[in-house]
Amino acid sequence: MNDPARTAAGDVRLASQSPYRVLIVDDDPDMSAYLALLLKKEGMAPEVAHDGESAITRALTSLPDLILLDVMMPGMSGFDVCRALKSDPETALLPVVLITALEDRESRVRGIEAGADDFLSKPVNREELLARVKTLRRLHETRKELANRRLAAEIAREDALLAAISRYISPRLANRMLRQNVDNSGVFPTLRDRAKVVVLFADLRGFTRLSETVPVSKIVPMLNEFFTELTAAAHENEGTVFSMAGDSLLVGFNVPITQPDAAERALDTGRSMIRRFAPVALRWRAEHGLSVGIGIGIEAGEVVVGNVGSPTFMSYTIIGDAVNVAARLMQMAAPGEILIGPGAFLSLKGLLGGAAESDRREVSLRGKAEPVEVFAIRVPPQ
C-alpha cells in the first residue's frame, strides 16, 4: 500500500464511486428544494446554500463537484459569487452553472464575463437540468481521469528513473534524491570538484586460484553472487558504488550526498560485506575445495569527484590519494580483515579505541616514503 501509484489510483477510484456533489445556491427555498430533489433522484448528492456568502464559504470548506447558482439573489448576486469562485485558485476549476431567466440575454453575457461554465433557464426544465448537469459531470470525470493518468505516468517515469539510478548509488539515496528533492544541483559534478570522501575497497582473496580451477562458465555466476552481497552491504549503508572491476569493488561515502558519519558507514559496510559473504565462501569451499575471503581497505581524504571520460561515455568516479591508499590496504588485508588508513582512523578513533578485535600496525605502502600506521580489524564470520 506504500506504493504511491497504487494509492493514487485507489484514491481516484474512490472519488469516482463517491456521489457527485452539487451545491445549489438559491435564495428561494422552493426552487432549491426542487433542484435538490431532482438531483437526488439521479443519485447525486445535492447541498443547498441560500445566499452567496455562505455558498463561497461552503465551497472553500468542502469543494463540491458542481455549483448551480441563481443570478438574482439579495446581497451577493450570482455574478459576484461566480467571479469570486473563478478568481480563487482553490475553486477556479469548479464548474459553475448560472440560473438565469429565459429571456434575459444580458444576464448570459454578464455570466460569461464572470466565468460561468454553462447556463440554465428559469423556469427550470427537468430534462434540460439533468442533461446539463450530466454533461458537466462527464467532463469533470474525464478531467479527473486524465489527471490520474498523467499522475500514474509521472510515477511510472519516476520509478524507471529510480531503478536506473539505483544501479549506481544506493536505492535509498536515489529515492531521497528523486522524491525528496534534496539539493540535486551538484549531485553529479564535473571532475574538478574536490570533496572529503571515505573510500572503501573490497576484493576477493583467492580469486586468481578460483578462476584457474573453476570452469569459466561458472565464474560469472559466482562473481555475481559475490558482488550481490557486497553491493547490498554498500547500499544498506547508503554508499555509492563507483566501480566494479575484476573481483574488486570501490565504494564511496559522503558522496554525492553529505554523510557526517561517513567513516562509521564505511566500517559498517566492511563488516557487513565480510559477514554476508561468509556463508557463500563456505559453500564454495564445499563445492570447489577452495578457500576464499574478502579483504577490505578503508581510507579518508580529499579526492576529486566527478565524471571522467569522453562525451559519449562517462564514468562517475573519484580520484585521489585516499583512493590509492585504500586500494593498497585492500591488497594487504588478510581474508576477513579490514585495514583502516590513518585518514579514516581519525574519524573512528572514538569508536575503535579499545576494540579487542583490532590492532595497530605499521605498513609500508608503495609510493610512500614513510611507513604508515594502520588499524586492522578482524571480522569473525558471525
Binding site: 427555498p29 422552493d30 426552487m31 431567466a101 423556469p123 427550470v124
Partner: protein, 101 residues
C-alpha cells in the same frame, strides 16, 4: 379563464415538495398584500420575479403568469394592476387542484 386553469399537472417525483410549496405561496400572498399596503413596489417586483421562476418549474404555469403581472405592474407603478393580480392569485391558490403524473 377556463376551469382547466385550476388543474395543475405535477411531476409525481416532486409530490413531497408540494405541501411546503403551497405553504410558502400563502406566506408570499400575505407578503405581497403587505408590500402593496405599504407602497413597497420593489418588494412586489422581487416577489413577482421569484413566482415567475418557481411556478412553471413546479408545473403551476398560472403562478408564473401572475408573477409576471406583479413584476410588470410594479415596474409601471400600477397599484391597481397589482391589486387585481392579488385577487387573481388568491383565487387561484384557493381553487387549484393538483394532479400527479
Amino acid at each position: 379563464m377556463s376551469a382547466d386553469k385550476y388543474t395543475a399537472i405535477v411531476d409525481k417525483d416532486i409530490a413531497d415538495l408540494i405541501p411546503m410549496f403551497f405553504k410558502n405561496r400563502k406566506t408570499e400572498l400575505e407578503a405581497l398584500r403587505a408590500a402593496l399596503a405599504s407602497g413597497d413596489l420593489e418588494q412586489v417586483r422581487r416577489v413577482g420575479h421569484r413566482m415567475k421562476g418557481v411556478g412553471n418549474s413546479y408545473g403551476f404555469a398560472p403562478i408564473s403568469d401572475i408573477g409576471k403581472m406583479f413584476e410588470d405592474c410594479a415596474k409601471a407603478n400600477d397599484a391597481a394592476g397589482i391589486g387585481a393580480s392579488l385577487a387573481e392569485y388568491a383565487d387561484y391558490l384557493e381553487k387549484v387542484k393538483v394532479v400527479y403524473e
